[in-house]
Amino acid sequence: MWQRRAGGARARHGGVGAVIHFLAPWKDLIRPAFFLFFLILGFRARRSQRAALTFIAYTIAVSLLIGFTQLEAWPFSDWALVHTLREPDMNRLDFVGIDADGRAWMIDPRVMQPIATEEFDTWMRMKFFRMSDSGRQAVSEEIIRRAEEGRKRFLAGGSPGSDAWLFGHFAAPRHFHNGAVWRSPNDVPRVPFRRLRLVVTRWNIEQFERDHNALTRTVIYESH
């Protein structure tokens, strides 16, 4: 899902932007330094009221700094969520498994758990096609392996994913929780998955709302 920022509302004004640009090469050292300093002050906090107030002041200052600049220094967060403008055109990367009989089946994203669908999808978009052919093949085989494990679990009456292992339906959902792709045994093959096919499904939100066939599917990759 690609989202755009409203150009006029980007508030990285000249001075702040210049500082951020200057510090960018050191960002992976600066970010953990916020937390390291937090720990140092934290361990000292119980020594005196002054030490406690120093720790509190530092935590407040860093939280506000990260929040107002919208930079990242986890666990100090910018807390941005669903904050950009939604584009009307959407696309989704679907995993399709080709079974031993050559038939194509949608793979339920939950098979990748404990890796979240949202996270793996984003990684795929950013990195998958920059890998070597052998690298892509290795990742494809891993997806098929997990899909196969999920298929067996599902046909045995369980969940395709592993999140529900203890709490079942009461397991903590993911940040963006997905509806089920596999809803009945008819949604999965009886024979093993053999290959992976990546399909980009594209649609316009308004057109799809009127006609659920108004989408295009393009195969962008197929494993060996």
Binding site: V82, R86, R174
Partner: protein, 293 residues
């Protein structure tokens, strides 16, 4: 300034600190017990991990073998259970917080070092607050501040990134429909609301306004009776309509003073025992044919 210092350093009823610790530990346990064998993420193909910058792994000390990570993962569960029951509270809270710092990024590290809103950010910081404070009340106030910051910057980020257009009916409609379509749902209520421009505008304006105003509960305790229940409803509706789940809803209870409830419970129990003593005294008097007076 002295008033601000006094506010931060004021004593807090012990029960409120205990409740905060319990809620943080329970939330973290719920999330990590719903992420079976998260360290197995490290067993993804080496070609995949080669795309993750080493500095990112170094930042969170994601450098050990899967075996060692599984031992640390079990240690996190143990530390959280001990923290839940207040065993060696200071150190179990600190260790839990540090291990959450180590493991939470595993959920997103493939593409970002920022695992916020996956359920463990507030428990990570909150447990460290409680561990460092060693039962001092400022840990609860700092946790309340963190929650206020979360809501405020959720609203701020929308204006920062998108301006007031974020609250437009068109944008809210596209989010309602788009998220529903993308995640394989068909939520009738989301589609019905999306067709109503007035409701969409209300959601947009109310959402941002509510988020920006939330920090007022830090200094106006009486407003918590409105803002906190509204927050709970807000998150339930978010989950239902937008399919965005907030794991830390229970932690919002830290805004309430449980010492009052504790006192009321004690008084109720005392009244109950006085009543039963009166009843038994009366029964004894009846048997002895005397009055209890």
């Amino acid at each position: 300034m002295n008033r601000i210092k006094a506010w931060w350093l004021a004593p807090e009823p012990a029960i409120n600190v205990t409740i905060a610790r319990v809620l943080l530990a329970l939330t973290a346990l719920w999330v990590i017990l719903s992420r079976f064998d998260l360290p197995s993420t490290l067993q993804l193909p080496a070609d995949l991990w080669a795309t993750v910058p080493f500095e990112r792994r170094l930042r969170f000390l994601l450098l050990f073998s899967v075996s060692i990570e599984r031992v640390l993962w079990i240690a996190l569960h143990v530390a959280l259970v001990l923290a839940l029951f207040g065993v060696k509270e200071r150190w179990t809270c600190i260790v839990s917080g540090l291990l959450l710092y180590h493991f939470a990024p595993l959920e997103t590290v493939l593409w970002t070092p920022n695992p916020y809103l996956r359920g463990l950010t507030i428990p990570c910081l909150g447990l460290l607050f409680i561990g460092f404070a060693n039962r001092a009340g400022w840990s609860v106030r700092l946790l309340q501040f963190l929650l206020c910051v979360m809501y405020f910057f959720a609203g701020y980020s929308k204006l920062f990134a998108s301006g007031t257009e974020w609250a437009s009916p068109r944008n809210i409609r596209l989010y309602l429909l788009g998220l529903d379509q993308f995640h394989f749902f068909h939520t009738a209520a989301a589609h019905a609301i999306a067709d109503n421009a007035v409701l969409c505008r209300f959601i947009g304006i109310f959402g941002i306004t509510y988020e920006l105003l939330f920090p007022v509960v830090l200094v106006r305790p009486k407003w918590r009776r409105i803002f906190v229940p509204v927050a709970i409803v807000f998150h339930v509706l978010n989950s239902w309509l937008f399919h965005v789940f907030f794991h830390d809803v229970a932690i919002l209870l830290v805004f309430f003073d449980f010492s009052g409830a504790q006192g009321a419970l004690a008084r109720w129990r005392a009244a109950g025992s006085r009543g039963s003593r009166t009843a038994s005294t009366g029964q004894a008097a009846d048997r002895a044919e005397t009055s209890p007076g």
